[in-house]
Symmetry: C2
Subunit: 340 residues, 2 copies
C-alpha cells in the first residue's frame, strides 16, 4: 500500500515538529501548526496508517507519535529538500578556514568548524595516504645503523618512520639511497608504489643491497600495511545537548565508539565520490552507534577523493541543514587543498 500525498505531508510535519520540539507530537498540535486543511481526526487516521507501515510509533499509549528510523529515512529520501546555507554560515566557513598554515591546521579548523555549525560531533579524516602521491623522500642518519625515513606527500602530509639497518652504512651511501628512492618513487601515487619498490630492490646490487632491502620493507609497511590513516574529532560536548533525552541516558557506548579510530574510519572512510551518505539509527553497522545518525561524504579537489568527513548526532537531527553544511564544508575543504 502506497501512501498518498497527505499522509506524506503528515509524516513530514511529524518529523519537523519532533526535531524542533523533541517531544512526541499529537494530532491536535499538528493541525494547529501546519496548514493541513483537515481535522485532527483525519490526521489521526493517517497516523494510524503510518504507524502500521512502521514510519512512526507511540512511545506509550496515549502519547503523541515519534518518527522511527524508517520514518526518518523516508523523510530524508523523499520529503526534504536540502536547505541552502545562510550567508552567515557561508561567511563563517570562509573566515574559519582562511589562514590555515599547514595541513594539520586545515584539518583542525575544519573539524571544529563542522562541529560548531552543525552543533554535533564532527569527524574529519586526513587526506588518505593511498590516494596521495609521493613528493619527496628524505633519509636522515640518526646513527650509523639507524635512519629516519621522512615521506612528504602532495597533500602536505608528512610521515616518518625509524629504519633499523642490518649494519653500519657510510654517509655517502645514504645519499645514494636517497637519490635512488626519490628518482623512482617521486610523483607516483602511493597505491601504485609497491611494485616499484620491489623493482628498486632488484635493481640494486653490491653493498647497498642489504640496506635497500630493509628500507623497502619499512617503505612498504608505511605505504600499505599499516594504513596510516589519521582522524580528527571535535564537538563531543554536543552529545550532551538535549539533556539525556537522546541516547536514552547513556553516552557511554557512543563515546567509546568515537575513541576507536578504526570505527571512525569505517564511518566516514568508504565514501563514493561526492555522494552524501546518511545512515540513520539501525542502519549503522556499528552497534554502539545504533542510536545515532551519521552524515558523511568524501572531499577532495574536483572528483578526486582525498578523504572523508562527516558528523555524528542523534537520529533526531535536522537532516536538511546538516546535510547542507557537511556538503558545503566538504566542497570548501576540497578546493582549499587543491590550491596546495
Amino acid at each position: 500500500m502506497s501512501l498518498d500525498d497527505r499522509k506524506l505531508a503528515v509524516l513530514r510535519a511529524i518529523v519537523e515538529d519532533y526535531v524542533a520540539t523533541q517531544e512526541p507530537v499529537g494530532s491536535k498540535m499538528l493541525v494547529e501548526r501546519h496548514q493541513l486543511g483537515v481535522s485532527p481526526a483525519t490526521v489521526r487516521n493517517d497516523m494510524a496508517v503510518l504507524e502500521e507501515e512502521g514510519y512512526i510509533r507511540q512511545p506509550h499509549t496515549s502519547a503523541g507519535r515519534v518518527p522511527t528510523d524508517r520514518g526518518y529515512r523516508l523523510f530524508v529520501d523523499r520529503l526534504s529538500r536540502v536547505k541552502p546555507l545562510t550567508p552567515a554560515e557561508r561567511r563563517a566557513i570562509e573566515r574559519f578556514l582562511v589562514g590555515a598554515v599547514d595541513l594539520d591546521d586545515v584539518v583542525h579548523r575544519t573539524v571544529r568548524l563542522l562541529a560548531q555549525l552543525t552543533r554535533q560531533v564532527a569527524v574529519v579524516q586526513y587526506p588518505s595516504l593511498a590516494r596521495s602521491s609521493v613528493r619527496h623522500l628524505e633519509l636522515v642518519p640518526i646513527s650509523t645503523t639507524r635512519l629516519m625515513l621522512v615521506m612528504i606527500v602532495d597533500t602536505g602530509r608528512v610521515e616518518q618512520r625509524l629504519v633499523e639497518l642490518p649494519g653500519p652504512i657510510p654517509p655517502d651511501d645514504v645519499i645514494d639511497l636517497r637519490q635512488l628512492v626519490n628518482e623512482k618513487l617521486v610523483g607516483t601515487r602511493l597505491a601504485d608504489t609497491p611494485p616499484l619498490v620491489q623493482a628498486l630492490v632488484d635493481e640494486v646490487s653490491g653493498e647497498l643491497r642489504p640496506a635497500m632491502i630493509t628500507l623497502s620493507t619499512v617503505l612498504l609497511e608505511t605505504l600499505v600495511e599499516r594504513h596510516e590513516e589519521r582522524i580528527a574529532l571535535a564537538g563531543t560536548a554536543n552529545l550532551t545537548r538535549g539533556g539525556l533525552l537522546d541516547f536514552q541516558g547513556s553516552l557511554r557506548p557512543i563515546l567509546e565508539a568515537l575513541e576507536e579510530e578504526v570505527v571512525l574510519l569505517k564511518l566516514i572512510g568508504e565514501v563514493e565520490p561526492s555522494a552524501m551518505r546518511v545512515r540513520i539509527g539501525d542502519e549503522n553497522e556499528i552497534d554502539n552507534l545504533r542510536a545515532t545518525s551519521v552524515v558523511s561524504t568524501g572531499y577532495g579537489p574536483g572528483v578526486t577523493i582525498l578523504g572523508g568527513l562527516g558528523v555524528v548526532g542523534p537520529t533526531r537531527m535536522d537532516y536538511p541543514s546538516t546535510i547542507a553544511t557537511v556538503r558545503a564544508v566538504a566542497r570548501y575543504v576540497g578546493d582549499l587543498l587543491a590550491q596546495n
Copy 2:
C-alpha cells in the same frame, strides 16, 4: 586546633569508604568496617569536629558524611601512601608500550594505556618542541616560489611548514640554503635557536638573502611563536562511569574543557621536574573543571622534562592508585624515549 590521630584515622576511613562505595558514609558503617576501637558515638563526635574544620560535609541533615575538597587534600598530603603497582599492571605497561614504531605510536599507546589503567580520562602531551633539539632540517621545493620546511627533532617529532618565497629560487640555491641552516642549527635546543637564526640572516648576503629572510621568519614562527604543542586524549567514555553521580549530571563543561588544547596544556604542561601534581576540585584554575581532580606529572629521560601527562577524573577518585599509575607510566615513557 589540630586534629589528633584518631580523627585523622576517621577521615582516612571516610575517604576510603566513600571512594569505594560512592555513598555518604555514616558512623555505624565506619566502625563496622574499620577497626577503630571506639563506638559510633565517639566517631560521631570526631566527625562533628572534622565537619567544623571543613574536611567533610553532610549532603543533607541525617545522611552520612562526604569528604570535601579540603578533606581529599589532607588525605592526599598526609594520610595516604602511594599504592605500589600490582605486577599485572607493571606487565601491562611493558606489554602495551613495547613495539611502538614511532613517536605518534608511543604517544597514542601511552594515552590509551593510562586511560585503561586508571579508568579515567588520560592526557599526554607530545614532547615539547622548546625542550628538544634540532636533528635535521629539510627544504623540499614545491614550486619555484614555494618550499616545504621539514624539521626533525631528537624526540622524533617532525614539523612541517610551507614557505612562500618572495621570488623564484633556483634549485642550487635551495641546496645552499639547506646546508646553511643545517650547519648552524642542528644540535641546538629549540629554545636557544632564535638568536642563531638571526645571526644566520646577518651572515647571508647576495641573492640568497631575501629567501633566507623569509625562511627565518617561518623558522622563528615554527620554533617559538606558534608554540606547536600537541596533545593526545583518551578515555572520555570513563567520565560516564558512576552514572550521573559524579559531576552532578552534566558532563558538558568537562567535555568542553577537554576539547580545548590550550586548557589541556595548562593542565599538564607546567610541571616541575619529576614532581607529581594533584589538583583537587576547586584548586583547579579552569572553571569547567572545578568538579574534577587532575593528577599530572612531567616525563622525560632522567631529570630532563620533555612534556607532561596526567589524568582527569572525579574528585572522588582513588588517589593512591592513580598517583602510582601516573608516575609509573611517566617513568616508563621517559625511559622509552631516552632509548631513541
